[in-house]
Symmetry: C3
Subunit: 440 residues, 3 copies
């Protein structure tokens, strides 16, 4: 039997961190939305990393209680003052436009214009991110100090957008493993120039897929790069057969900033991914917190809706909505850090190593301990403290009664999964264990 | 479907607090006991608030391992000194007599008299409360400084009591709701001039019954105003059919003082009343503690005896036996406070709102979230934090899979039950939920 | 019905402590090993306390994955320097020889000799304890300052040992109780001059067996005095029928030093012995800690191997391997204390009292409380706090529904088992309880 052991953490983390950040920087300027060419262009960029398939779902498609909206595209948008100077210019920053703004050509007084302007008084140098996907509206977002500098007078508003029948685009890559059971990795790729939310998730997932493509895998893996909410709903509605194969899943979001890790458990609360992630974070060397499930957040909301109740958790660093830069222009390329992206990638690979390697075994010598010494698996000199690798072997032997997985053994032993996995490998080679094949 | 929603907390708490205290003050001077006219008079007073039925159970009636005792009545009792001055006078305070004292006419020396006198050296200005229900005895209770002031000489003792075949009286009011399942509210009404223990429970229960009489109720309610221990045993022995209908129950005692709340769980420990009460106290804004069940206390001892094991908990403020004023004349009308009685009443009504409103629902759109926005149930402007009422809706939708009650949802969401109940009402109106009818 | 109630703690603890320490002192100088005459002599000494049966298992006997080794005996061992002076002398201390050293006669240079010498640089005045049971080797252990004092030159090494076919010896005493279900008490008796590890366990067990022989017992008891690891494996392999009768078990080790108690739970984690021991320690008046099971330690490793999974825990004071004196000559007769040995013995007897007395009862008056007063089991004067013995009776009555053992009642009541046992006895005498006979 081959022990699948995808060593995914051997890359130079510094190098890969730089690559991750560089790729995020390429995606950063694009004005994405839940539909349209910005999203499509983003998916095409990802194809440079992994052979993503791009799917198009037509506007008007019924997806459960929702409907795929009209496709939104933007060419330009600005506000000019009386002197003809652009006081707000979409070309300067994609956040300036209220996302999904309807087309508009108008001349307005300042007071009329103001009802369509959004700013953050507490952070006068940041542009907020605002959307109006389902209520036809238009507007601009700008720095509060820019708003305050606007003088009385007539303004010219130009919003050169289109909102027409088209498609919702998403990207998907499936990696085939030994089993048709799947691990789902999902992330929203719909936000415009916001780095942590969620170019961090997009880049880490793309590189994770690239790493896994080179491995012999136990599980099959499916990565979906989708617009938030409507994209997850569309994917679930149009891939219901696939959902039945999801054994484990992760939503990745806000994983590039300097904050400690937060893992939000699946609705089930005790799914294998929940235990694997908690285990990996406990040993990851960074501060972390494991959060209970709640029905608001990102697309785990949909995966964990009661009809699906999939074992999908959400990995974050700083929690969305809790950091001041969230949904503002301050969530920029400086806010995410190369080494944090790299370490997030490593945490993902370690969680996958746990899932890949988490099997159950039967001790073939269950009556008393087998004599490890005669197999060279024990120190020969008695009377001294035994080292951790022997502890790991004793734990595996003691709990390999068919009802404990290696992850459970690692948790009970207080040892990292890799040490327990390594002990199991050694004991398997010695013929002291046999694998227990679960009947599913 | 009508959602029963008894808004019981809309009364002006200040006004109702004054009413509660005034009623306690009317009952205070009466010399109650476990039988007799003082108890009967008390029940008749309560009839001025609610149409209580008064039951009489004859002396000698076998009630499980016990027997209803002879009826005790007292007309007068005093001790006169040699000068003929009353040095202890029952007319001054009902606690002066050892409750259930046998009749006595005697002339005694001070040293003989002393063996029948009870005082509290640590609190020389307080009269203790002492009883001798089951062992024929007589005695007086007095302030320790009065005891010390007694001079040598002969004393005349007069105890004009009777202990004869008669009845044990108790009061009962049943309010009929949609279901024949009952909520039992029980309190001991047998203590003489002691305010917190238990005129506080008596008055709050009487006013609670009055409030509930005006409501359309899901459950039926039964209030029993009984003498402690023997009264509860008598009620259980003579109402065994009723006990089978008890779905939830509360004993109310010592709920008028300034202390924080204490809720003692039922023997079951996880009964719905236990969870409801813990929930209400968590959100009540006063300090509180939830205590494990123990087999000593007030009448929950009987309701939670192993043969019945009813889901009956006990609500208190300060715990009986732990405050120095307990069972002394210092447990007087100053010791209980109008606003504390009123807030205790409100906590009771809130617990009843939980019981009344705690149902389970089935999300009719269990696959992904339903689109709340198109129903006007979500903010239309994306990108900003969602308010608590939307959180409540998402929680109800996510957990309404038929296996979570609204109380469980409220607990998991960390939101007050009323917010969850309100969310469920809104979702029901939108057709997004249907009620799950439990098969009992 | 007779309630078996072995009052084992009435002995004068000071006297018994001195006896225990005196017996440990007699055993201390003997050079024990996992086989041989030192072990045999030790078992014969124990026969002076209790009629131990000594078993001999021939070398070469297959015991699961192991084999009984050749028997090792030592007559003398020394190292002489060029002047003919013994610089290391086994006669001075049994730890000087690497235990299980093969015979050796040689003349060596200092540097050659050094490769066979063991010392502890951090503790230059202590001799380490080292063994080489399964790899043929020879060596000496000595104080580091002695090692450093060795001068260049030729040394004469003499190790007069034999390693030949013989037997592994162990001692066993079985005490017959009402039931054939057994309590197993196991301790390793193979260490040479080390007092806490494990003459403490040996002496306490011998005296415990002596105490129990005088009692009428519910369970049968089996004490095994065995060499560590190979002895436990040998006992298990050659007594497999007996293992099926083991209902509770304890390994005793390192229970004579001044440290607080440590109880390591059985692999099951919630065995009755685990709960009994935790209960006894909670009330023992010394610091204590309850440790989770782990598969390294002493012979509980074998009893708790997955094939047996016996309910055997391990009682210690300081945990082996964690105190600096462990496995050195500093674990001597001063390191163990008479009063600590005595208190350890008392803790063992208290745990046995729990096991012996832990039964379940049925309250014969389950509807409401029975009237304790008329049976003289309650205070007759109402209105005052009830004492602990009445609390204990109420707890027993309330929870004696056939599904709670007395130990569970004691835990829930927060009272010592003895108080609950006493309450049950009183209630049994009053006819208020009947025993629930478990169907096994």
């Amino acid at each position: 039997m081959t022990i699948s052991e995808p060593r995914l953490d051997r890359d130079d983390l510094t190098t890969i961190g730089q690559e991750l950040h560089r790729f995020a920087a390429e995606l950063y300027p694009i004005c994405r939305s839940i539909t349209g060419n910005g999203l499509r262009e983003t998916l095409k960029k990802i194809q440079e990393i992994v052979p993503l398939e791009i799917r198009e779902v037509p506007s008007g498609t019924k997806v459960f209680d929702w409907e795929v909206p009209k496709e939104w595209n933007i060419r330009d948008a600005y506000v000019k003052n009386q002197s003809g100077r652009k006081v707000i210019d979409f070309q300067e920053h994609s956040l300036h436009i209220l996302n999904y703004s309807v087309p508009m050509q108008a001349r307005l007084s300042l007071s009329e214009l103001r009802t369509h302007l959004h700013s953050i008084p507490q952070h006068p140098d940041w542009i907020p991110y605002r959307t109006s996907y389902y209520k036809p509206d238009w507007g601009f977002c700008l720095r509060h100090r820019e708003l305050q500098a606007l003088e009385e007078g007539e303004y010219e508003v130009c919003i050169d957008t289109s909102l027409e029948d088209g498609n919702l685009s998403y990207g998907e890559i499936a990696l085939r493993g030994e089993s048709s059971d799947e691990v789902l990795i999902s992330l929203h790729a719909c936000h415009p120039s916001l780095a942590n939310d969620n170019l961090s998730g997009v880049t880490v997932a793309a590189f994770l897929a690239r790493l896994l493509r080179e491995k012999k895998l136990r599980y099959s893996y499916r990565f979906v790069f989708i617009p938030g909410t409507i994209g997850a709903i569309t994917w679930l509605a149009t891939n219901q057969e696939n959902t039945k194969r999801v054994r484990h899943g992760l939503v990745l979001t806000c994983i590039g900033d300097a904050g400690g890790f937060h893992y939000k458990k699946s609705r089930r609360g005790d799914a294998e991914i929940d235990r694997a992630m908690a285990h990996v974070l406990k040993h990851c060397g960074e501060p972390f917190e494991v959060l209970e499930f709640s029905p608001y957040g990102y697309d785990e909301r949909q995966y964990c809706s009661p009809g699906f109740n999939l074992p999908v958790g959400c990995l974050m660093r700083s929690v969305w909505g809790t950091f001041p830069e969230y949904h503002t222009s301050a969530d920029n390329l400086e806010f995410i850090r190369a080494e944090k992206l790299a370490h997030s990638l490593r945490v993902c690979t370690q969680a996958i190593e746990v899932l890949e390697g988490n099997r159950s075994y039967q001790n073939q010598n269950p009556y008393c301990e087998p004599q490890l010494g005669k197999r060279g698996l024990y120190g020969s000199r008695g009377g001294q403290a035994i080292p951790e690798e022997i502890h790991a072997r004793l734990w595996v032997l003691n709990l390999s009664d068919g009802s404990h997985s290696l992850l459970e053994i690692a948790e009970r032993a207080g040892l990292p999964f890799s040490a327990i996995r390594e002990a199991a490998n050694v004991l398997l080679e010695s013929g002291l264990l046999t694998e227990v094949v679960a009947v599913s």
